[in-house]
């Protein structure tokens, strides 16, 4: 069945370095959402992308949806310790949810 693959599983960066997580699907996605989950917390919605090639920015975060709508990325510029957490991508297609496995980001001060 359809899966959303997310890489990397873990990323350790020095504060100030950039960070990127990627989601890939073997089939076309109608949409993709990104969530952040702080340690001990619950997933918090960040953004939804629906258009081919769409790019959205939230301060230091840049979200992209591929032209073929089969991949997406989340890029954080100049990470801060407040960025620590696990970032999940998710897609809702044909009445089913598909969650990526998440990328756990650790930022060293």
């Amino acid at each position: 069945g359809q899966q959303v693959m997310q890489i990397p599983q873990y990323q350790h960066v020095q504060e100030g370095e950039d960070f990127t997580t990627y989601c890939n699907s073997s089939t076309t996605l109608s949409n993709i959402q990104w969530y952040k989950q702080r340690p001990g917390g619950h997933p918090v919605f960040l953004i939804q992308l629906v258009k081919s090639g769409e790019v959205k920015k939230q301060k230091r975060l840049t979200f992209q949806f591929g032209e073929a709508k089969k991949n997406s990325s989340l890029h954080i510029t100049a990470t801060q310790t407040t960025d620590v957490g696990t970032y999940f991508c998710s897609s809702y297609n044909f009445n089913k949810f598909y969650f990526g496995s998440g990328t756990k980001l650790n930022v060293k001060p």
Binding site: Q33, H42, F45, F88, S90, K96, F97, F99, S101, G102
Partner: protein, 113 residues
């Protein structure tokens, strides 16, 4: 965005017993979802709770084990029945929240001993 109150936040239960988790939303929502998340893992959808009809369960989850109620458009419960240590997990409810994607409750951390 919608605000969800999920209770209890955590519980330690004896095997063989049942626990009911509640989610109250501050607005009417059509679709509510129940997830399970093992620590450090991704989310697994248990079922979709529909108001006025039976819940729709995902593969691997059955109504006898995880009965769900959805009496109105702002409230739902998930019961974890006849618990075993393998049911120890974090359980989360979620609602479709329009432009805000999907909003999650704060979760219930369940430990079965």
């Amino acid at each position: 965005s919608a605000v969800i109150s999920q209770k209890p936040s955590r519980d330690i239960c004896q095997r063989g017993t049942s626990l009911t988790i509640q989610c109250q939303v501050d607005s009417q929502v059509t679709m509510m979802f129940w997830y399970r998340q093992q620590p450090g893992q991704s989310l697994t959808l248990i079922a979709t709770a529909n108001q006025g009809s039976e819940a729709t369960y995902e593969s691997g989850f059955v109504i006898d084990k995880f009965p769900i109620s959805r009496p109105n458009l702002t409230f739902s419960t998930l019961t974890v029945s006849n618990m075993s240590p393998e049911d120890s997990s974090i359980y989360l409810c979620s609602v479709a929240d329009g432009d805000y994607g999907y909003t999650f409750g704060s979760g219930t951390r369940l430990t079965v001993v």
